[in-house]
Symmetry: C2
Subunit: 214 residues, 2 copies
DNA sequence: GCGGCAATGTTAACACTGTAAACATTGGCG
DNA sequence: CGCCAATGTTTACAGTGTTAACATTGCCGC
């Protein structure tokens, strides 16, 4: 069981063609079912049908690959949030729409953590990481990173008159803290055992807390 | 630099005496300056002045050692919270005291994360972990785990009439989510660069949010 | 007291990892 | 068309977790 993809079509050309992309894809696959610790250089090269050292032509070291995978995972998170936003019904009440907007961001965040716990863990694994929360590599199809999607929702809340402008600054950290913490509890913590409906319930309550407390 | 403790007093007896404890201590030291990934069996045995395989007489595998270290780290977190509680001035206002009680738990939590980021990361690293949030091994000098200290604070809040009893159930998850998330942002996230005073400020604001939103 | 057993450590080995240096191949540019 | 830079391979080394076979010795029952 050392090789999940024993004999890949075993390319005939000497050059691979798009090894960088192949390694990233393999790494993402490894992360999806194994978390950050499972993204291993040699296994990635194996799946790409290439010798171990070949990876060093495209990534400085294992850490560099892991960070690329991590960015891809954050991009997936951004898409999950976007999914939640897309399902938002068109509302005529501006204020209610803004509130729903913020809630959808939180709900999408937690939903992704539950659907892809290993990718979620990977997205937030390496230190020196979250710092660049706005790197384009972390963006989803909307072109925005999870952090930016959250900020947009908060801005919307202000413009809708639902959040006093003087409380806007820093609010993203409060909201993010709450949602991120909940996501962690939901996949690794005491909330792990709960079913989807219950998780949704706790999430709603937490979003209430954020809304009232912000 | 493969061995930080080159020639330990190199015991004369064949038996070590308390290898289990020595390994755990070494593991904790490794975790303190290197995080969960740095707690490595062979290095721990080296520091204990013992051969690599000896560890297997006391821990099933590396994971088992890591989990023991993790419990110890949580115990440290419990003590940090207790420190914050101990510094609480004796108040005569029951309600204010209960509010301060909860805030102290949150503040101690974040303070520990900032003071010992690697231990904090270790405390919450292995999956299958937070589940047993009440294991005695995770308790601090008060005999309570971080989770139990939080619950006690919330109970106090109810008894002081500051939290409606019907909103008590599950409140621990909301409060924990917020504080835990903030702690993560403060050590690995965008809040990493902030100074102690600024972190205290954000923490206060977050605790306001929790208090108003609970 | 003492003999043997079970607990504890040691040695040696295996399979795996990341990484570097020297070498091989080849696409494309002058 | 020939050469060079980019890309991939081979080989090697140090480090890791883990196991099996062996060594030592504290302690418990006779």
């Amino acid at each position: 069981m050392t090789n999940a993809h024993p004999d890949r079509p075993s390319r005939t050309t000497y050059r691979h063609g798009d090894l960088h992309h192949a390694l990233l894809t393999a790494g993402l696959e490894l992360a999806r079912d194994g978390g950050p610790a499972a993204v291993v250089l040699r296994e990635a090269t194996r799946r790409a049908g290439v010798s171990p050292s070949a990876a060093y032509r495209h990534f400085a070291d294992r850490r560099a690959l892991l960070e690329a995978v991590c960015s891809a995972a954050q991009s997936g998170l951004a898409n999950a949030i976007q999914d939640a936003l897309d399902q938002l019904p068109a509302a005529n009440d501006r204020a209610a729409a803004a509130r729903a907007h913020l809630r959808a961001v939180g709900a999408g965040y937690v939903a992704f953590a539950r659907a892809e716990p290993n990718l979620f863990r990977t997205a937030f694994s390496p230190s020196e990481n979250l710092e660049r929360a706005e790197s384009p590599a972390r963006a989803g199809r909307s072109g925005m990173t999870p952090f930016q999607l959250l900020n947009a929702a908060l801005d919307d809340l202000v413009e809708a008159g639902e959040l006093p402008r003087e409380r806007r600054a820093g609010a993203e950290f409060l909201a993010w803290s709450a949602v991120h913490g909940l996501a962690m509890l939901a996949i690794d913590g005491p909330l792990r055992g709960l079913g989807p409906a219950q998780i949704r319930g706790v999430t709603e309550r937490l979003l209430d807390m954020v809304h009232h407390g912000l």
